[in-house]
């Protein structure tokens, strides 16, 4: 390596970093990034908190489901790694919904029937499709079944590199974004101004405030709690495999590390004969 060039290159790189840093700081004041929250499902061993998911589902059902679809099968609500409702509870819940049958009846009529756990949670009845919803609201409220995976914000360098590293990994960008939006309506006189939404003008007016939902388990009915709980629920809805995935991952990693160790010493022993 030609060593004489290195100090020059380093100082040029530092100058760029400084200039870039100043530009970023200015931008931050105008468009702040969603703050990082503590989630039970973060990190290598994090999984969902069942009670939190049940509260989140309650918030979804009482507030969000009036406008937003959540196209997941009912049976997922009895997922033991997720909200963990009993199969009977899920059956009863599904039966309260009217679902369009896939096939017409014997007379050739399309008909509606009570839902079953195998059915997908139906869209809000008043807005059978995106066009109807857009006509009512200006913009169609998105389906929330992948919302936590479908939202992001710019992490910038070097954070996007660090976000992949063991111990520092950050997979909850979407969750933090959703939480920030829900708590970001900081201008009471402008219900569509949101601190964290890019450009600040969001089509959804503030959906939830303190006291909107009464929790069964006695958790304080504050906006902060609603935001945390419904975000955790939506994260689960987007990524129900998370607990099983991490559990499997632990077993796989241990296996691979042991295997790599054994193979390393085997390889060393074999190669001794080559010298």
């Amino acid at each position: 390596m030609i060593r004489s060039k290195t100090p020059a290159l380093v100082s040029i790189a530092l100058a760029f970093a400084l200039a870039g840093g100043l530009a970023v700081a200015q931008n931050e004041a105008e468009q702040p990034k969603p703050p990082r929250q503590d989630w039970s499902f973060a990190g290598m061993f994090g999984i969902y908190d069942q009670a939190q998911l049940q509260r989140g589902f309650q918030v979804y059902k009482e507030v969000c489901s009036n406008c937003h679809a959540l196209s997941i099968p009912f049976r997922e609500l009895s997922d033991p790694w997720g909200p963990g409702y009993s199969p009977d509870q899920v059956k009863a819940l599904a039966a309260t919904y009217q679902v369009t049958n896939a096939q017409p009846n014997d007379k050739g009529e399309i008909f509606k029937r009570p839902g079953t756990p195998a059915d997908v949670i139906p869209r809000p009845e008043s807005y059978p499709n995106d066009q109807a919803a857009a006509a009512a609201f200006g913009k169609a409220p998105p389906d929330m079944n992948l919302l936590a995976k479908a939202r992001k914000y710019e992490r910038g360098f070097p954070w996007f590199v660090l976000d992949a590293l063991p111990g520092l990994e950050y997979q909850e960008i979407g969750s933090d974004y959703i939480h920030a939006i829900l708590t970001g309506y900081t201008k009471p006189d402008d219900p569509q101004w949101n601190l964290y939404y890019p450009g600040h003008k969001i089509a959804m007016p503030q959906p939830i405030t303190d006291g909107a939902v009464k929790y069964a388990d006695g958790t304080p009915p504050t906006l902060q709690n609603y935001a945390k709980d419904v975000t955790a629920f939506l994260t689960w809805a987007s990524e129900p495999n998370l607990p099983e995935r991490k559990k499997m991952g632990l077993g796989v990693m241990i296996f691979l590390f042991v295997l790599a160790g054994l193979l390393y010493f085997t390889k060393k022993r074999i190669w001794e004969a080559a010298h």
Partner: protein, 416 residues
């Protein structure tokens, strides 16, 4: 290295089979008795890693194809079906998407190894060119595969890349409409992309067969760039030496793979692709997957559409010519200090272009992209020919055995 096998089957059935179809003899001469330079470092394990990744992608892909529906209305939902309903569907899907990224990471390391150590030089030119064709097909396969989930980034990427063909003079528009199966990216496009995405990996597999065959005719290059002179002194048998080293390297690679699949599976997935494709709603920032970013930056750096497209394809095509651009008699950059410096500058250009490809093309960034594009092409078209005969190289070792002994004085007397 190639020729009639020395393998003699021990059993009667073995001899019966071998005299009709000498498959076992072929495996024996290619992967057991086959001599391999004894000074190879871990950069030479990526061929095995790539073979594993190709098989992994094909196996996971075939299973995914059993559940995936290649229709514009059903594709996105079928992926959700795979993720939620299919037993371990989430695992197979994450293996496939993250496998594609690792496939490219291994491929880039493998290619950079070739450029650094001069593995493209005579007599390995054809081996290198087959490799370039494999890489191009990999990029095509990855592009086609990315369209299949029919997310908003899939749709945007398909539109951007297929629109490039409209830059061809005279026939461009007609060709693009023929490619699309319509007047815009749509259902026919998705259906044929699925067909091609299923097809290309098997063409890649056939080319990999040719690639390994070409390799076995000439033998491996090695970190010192000195050809094998004495098989006994300079080489070791593939099994168990290279076999175990490859398997060990693969186990480390699998740790990286497992980290991605189980702990950060969505890290490399763009969030916009979790939104259903809508022709009326383009994502705010259209970017390809990370492994195509440098070429995306080169494409955007050039103001003229046709020249940009030509530069895009030229940036890969130029690789095929480097056996004739770099004529230095010294193969390995270990003994070429000037070349080594420019090699790392080239790598920095590539990484810089990759980062630029992910950013919005503001005036300042486009200028830097242009400079780095000049750097990228300059490495091949200017530096390589210039250094071919003017570089002051370090003296190369007389043989592989000498290189190994110089590194590590033997504990016992060397076997002569």
């Amino acid at each position: 290295m190639s020729g009639p096998t020395t393998y003699v089957p021990k059993s009667k059935i073995g001899r019966w089979f071998e005299s009709r179809l000498p498959m076992v003899g072929l495996v024996h001469s290619s992967f057991i008795a086959y001599p391999v330079p004894r000074n190879l470092n871990y950069m030479w394990t990526f061929g095995a890693i790539l073979s594993f990744m190709l098989v992994a992608q094909i196996v996971t892909g075939v299973v995914l194809a059993m559940h995936y529906v290649p229709s514009a209305t059903e594709a996105f939902g079928s992926i959700q079906h795979i993720m939620r309903d299919v037993n371990y569907g989430w695992l197979i899907r994450y293996m496939h998407t993250n496998g594609a990224s690792l496939f490219f990471l291994a491929c880039y390391i493998h290619m950079l190894r070739g450029v650094y150590y001069g593995s493209f030089k005579p007599p390995r030119e054809l081996l290198w060119i087959i490799g370039v064709v494999i890489y191009f097909l990999m990029a095509a396969t990855a592009f086609l595969g990315y369209v299949l989930p029919w997310g908003s980034m899939s749709f945007a990427g398909a539109t951007v890349i297929t629109n490039l063909f409209s830059a061809i003079p005279l026939v461009g528009n007609a060709f693009t409409h023929w490619l699309w199966g319509g007047y815009a990216v749509g259902d026919p496009t998705l259906n044929r992309f699925f067909s091609l995405h299923y097809l290309l990996p098997f063409i890649i597999a056939a080319l990999v067969g040719l690639h390994v065959w070409a390799l076995h005719v000439t033998g491996q290059n090695n970190p010192d760039g000195v050809e094998v002179q004495n098989v006994e002194r300079d080489t070791v048998a593939f099994t168990p030496y290279a076999t175990m080293k490859d398997v060990f390297a693969l186990s480390l690679w699998l740790i990286l793979y497992a980290w991605l699949i189980f702990y950060i599976p969505n890290y490399l997935l763009d969030a916009d692709n979790s939104i259903l494709a809508n022709p009326l709603a383009t994502p705010a920032h259209v970017v390809p997957e990370w492994y195509l970013l440098p070429f995306y930056a080169i494409l955007r750096a050039i103001p003229n559409k046709l020249v940009g497209v030509i530069a895009l394809f030229a940036s890969i095509a130029v690789l095929a010519f480097i056996p004739w651009l770099d004529r230095s008699p010294v193969k390995s950059a270990k003994y070429r200090p000037t070349y080594r410096f420019f090699f790392w500058v080239f790598v920095a250009c590539g990484i810089g272009l990759g980062w630029l490809g992910s950013q919005e093309p503001t005036a300042g960034l486009v200028l830097i992209a242009r400079i780095l594009t000049v750097g990228y092409f300059g490495f091949f078209l200017v530096i390589m020919p210039l250094l071919s005969f003017t570089e002051k190289t370090k003296p190369i070792p007389a043989s592989i055995a000498d290189a190994v002994l110089a590194k590590k004085p033997p504990i016992t007397a060397p076997a002569e």
